[in-house]
């Protein structure tokens, strides 16, 4: 500061001060640029820390009353708590004992008005498990198929830079079906769910392929086609031929109120969700 006041008083000696002022005029923009770069770096670090790593969550979706929240509580708390219709998404951490890893499982509500919430979690999803109530699927197969169609359409419309989440169809509530001599209850449930869903999805596919749809309002985002059901082969819908990826099927069951057996490395007891746990471990 003294230099500046000295500068104003000592007018006849400018050459003493010019190098410092020149240095200042050079330093100032450099310092400003450095500060800006530092701020941007700090900001980028903060933003990156906030957004979770991509592809580490498993989404549980399905129609209302399929049993998604019950599955989540069994996986997360090792006991099946009584549940009712969910009004909002639950996200919990599930420990997989045999591989010592943890997964984040997201349970999205199934009510038709709020089921679009799964779209928010899709970017972070590694896999999507679609839970179907195997005991009532023959009655409300069309509604289940509509929901599944929406999910399959969302999966196939993801940008190709991201890896597509793998799809698993869970035939839940197998304990309500009676097994026969040839096939266990899980097999029966899986077959029933597969045939009914294939039939309904084929109906939807043929309607949309051959039909002329009505445009949506605001034709800028022309998303009037609901695709997502394309298949190789002769075009008829089959899960094995779906172009969106591999679809796995498993059968599960839980019983409310009973504490599930803890599956440790030493003794793996078979409880209703063991096939789901195995699939999760393969995933992790």
């Amino acid at each position: 500061m003294e230099e500046y006041s000295a500068d104003t008083s000592k007018r006849p000696e400018p050459e003493v001060l010019s190098p410092t002022s020149a240095l200042n005029s050079q330093l100032l923009p450099i310092a400003a640029v450095l500060l800006a770069v530092l701020l941007v770096a700090v900001f980028a670090l903060l933003v990156r820390k906030k957004s979770s790593k991509r592809g580490d969550a498993v989404i549980l979706a399905g129609c209302s009353d399929a049993g998604k929240t019950a599955i989540l509580t069994t996986l997360a708390y090792q006991q099946t708590l009584p549940t009712h219709a969910s009004m909002q998404t639950n996200a919990a951490l599930v420990a997989l004992p045999s591989s010592r890893k943890t997964l984040r499982v997201v349970d999205v509500p199934g009510h038709p008005r709020i089921r679009d919430q799964f779209q928010e979690h899709l970017p972070q999803a590694k896999a999507l498990a679609f839970v179907v109530d195997a005991s009532t699927v023959s009655r409300n197969g069309a509604a289940v198929a509509e929901h599944l169609h929406m999910i399959m359409h969302a999966l196939t419309s993801l940008p190709p830079s991201r890896s597509t989440p793998s799809l698993l169809i869970v035939a839940h509530k197998c304990d309500l079906l009676k097994g026969t001599a040839n096939a266990s209850a899980e097999q029966l449930a899986i077959n029933r769910v597969r045939t009914i869903l294939e039939r309904e999805l084929e109906k939807r596919r043929s309607t949309h392929a051959n039909g002329v749809a009505v445009e949506g309002l605001g034709a800028e985002d022309a998303e009037s086609e609901i695709g997502g059901l394309e298949c190789t082969g002769n075009g008829e819908f089959k899960f094995a031929e779906w172009e969106g990826g591999e679809v796995a099927f498993i059968g599960t069951s839980v019983s409310v109120g009973k504490a599930a057996q803890v599956v440790t490395e030493k003794h793996s007891e078979k409880d209703g969700l063991s096939s789901l746990r195995e699939w999760l471990e393969e995933l992790a």
Binding site: S64, T69, A95, T102, K203, R204, V214, E215, G216, L217
Partner: protein, 670 residues
Amino acid sequence: MLDHCSISHKGGVVLWSRSFTPAASHTAASSASPVNSLVREALIEGRSSDGKYEKDGYAVKWTFVNDLELIFVVAYQRILQLTYVEDLLNALKTLFIKLFQPFLTTFVASLHVTTTVKLSASADTHSSWNFAKAFDGWDAVFDKLLRGLEDKAAQERRTRSGHVIRPMVEVTPPEEDINIVPSQSSDNVLDEEQIARNVQALKNRLRGRGGPPGRRGRGRADVGNGRDSLPGSDSETPSKSKRKAKAQRKWGDEAPTESDMASLDFSYDSSTSDSHIAPPVDLSALVDNGSLGTRTQDGLYEVRDWEFAQSQGGKSADDVIAEVLKKSGQEPPKPSSGSLGALGSIFARLTGSKVLTEEDLKPVLEAMKQHLMKKNVAKEISDKICEDVGQSLVGKKVGGFQTTNSAVRQALANSITRILTPKTSTDLLLSIRTKLSAPVAASQQRQPYSITFVGVNGVGKSTNLSKVCFWLIQNGFRVLIAACDTFRSGAVEQLRVHVRNLGMLGVDGATNSKGRVELYERGYGKDAAGIAKEAISYARDNDFDVVLIDTAGRMQDNEPLMRALAKLVATNNPDKIIFVGEALVGNEAVDQLTKFDRALRDFSAASGGQERGIDGMLVTKWDTVDDKVGAALSMTYVTGQPIIFVGCGQTYTDLRQLRVGNVVQAILSD
């Protein structure tokens, strides 16, 4: 007395529940439980703001705790009138939170994991979540609370019944003594109701006096029949029976009670009547100074001209400056009054601990309500939506850089999206193909898919019916149009013109669509239900796929016409009943839809068929409202049914599907 009580988390996990009867415990475990139905039908649909919900003979009351995301529900038999339920819910709320706050916060946090972190050790995961142990002791507390409240309610009932008997006894002298004027004990307050009752007593006694003793007995019986305030000799039993019996009809020849007089008093508020001050009116909201007209030289006030090109943003520079000056003039008072409060709330928000209270929310919700009404949402609906949003936000924590305004706006956007998202499939093509491809018995023929268009006069039913017909023809269906509007002159000719036009428009390279669309009409003056029945059987015999039934427009409170419509619906059982409404309608939309839906349900159930209501809606004249599309929101809120199509013009291709995102954006944009 109660049937079921439960405490659960909004994510679906039930933390504690108790059923008081075996039947209740059986239904509570199934998916038809009152809690499940409550959540599914009232809470998620957002139609819960009048505070009560009834289903299957149960009445259900509930309350929220928003920061811990809990729902407290009590269900009891609808016929009981329990007065202590609200107090029970509030007491439960405070007690539960006080006793179990730390466990609840960890539980809620465990359900909102945002990133995958490694759990420290697998050992403590399964030992820490012992739910039964966490809530033990709660059962005893609940029992004590319930017993206390029930005892208090029983106590109140007893004292209330004790009070009623006494004034009756004092007012009535014995029947035989007709010369005695009714004497009041000195400590009775002589209010208007007492005076009226006394006058009535005198009249009755005087009337009973004229006649021989034998007839007097009968006279007394006659007099005693219709009057519920009879001061007869049996003073105690009428009071008790009056309380238990239903309130008898007031025939208007009795003196009105005080409550009646208070409800009929439409003069100014008695509290302010002495000062004669009118209720405060916000004058600045009534007049927009920028749009005032001009005064001519003679002193006449002329209204300003309508400007087309600049109507959107064409304010002159003077107006803008005037507005800015006015706003800045208002600003200084605000910081001085709440400067520390504003700073404090900013700090609280940044540290993530600001909790929304009712006072914070009230001005914001009020502004949101005005905004919705400006966008042509009906007043009742905006009220209910804003109340709902307020209820779901009270007590919620707002963190980061989010202001109250943006939190409310976000919640409002979610609520509106939820209301507009259809809960049933709106895919008409799929439903038609499903019905047409359903297996049919060998002896019968395939039934066509029938759609009925209903609505008030002049909304565009016939026009939009022909648009839907064009779309169906494009998809390869054979359509029969049934002209069941036998009232309006020219209705049948109008449909004939449409059929001729549609026949001339070719599809898929064909020169015309002669065989694809036909009109079934029987002239004017006949019964619409009969014509519809014949049309459907004609369609079945001649292999038509879809039957579109055009009905006459009718006002919603015209009972004979609504009955006729319900008869058409009951005899023909159409697969879809589409209500056609226009986008310009304002508050009237609520009235139209409620009455149509109600009338259809009541009358169609009464005439022996199953109960049918409105299945979907078609909003017309959408091109006349550019972004004031609130009518769509009002209509879906009232019925809960989706909007299947939107009509936006007068040519055959002006039919669109509703995009929920666009409508929400249009409603919330400024």
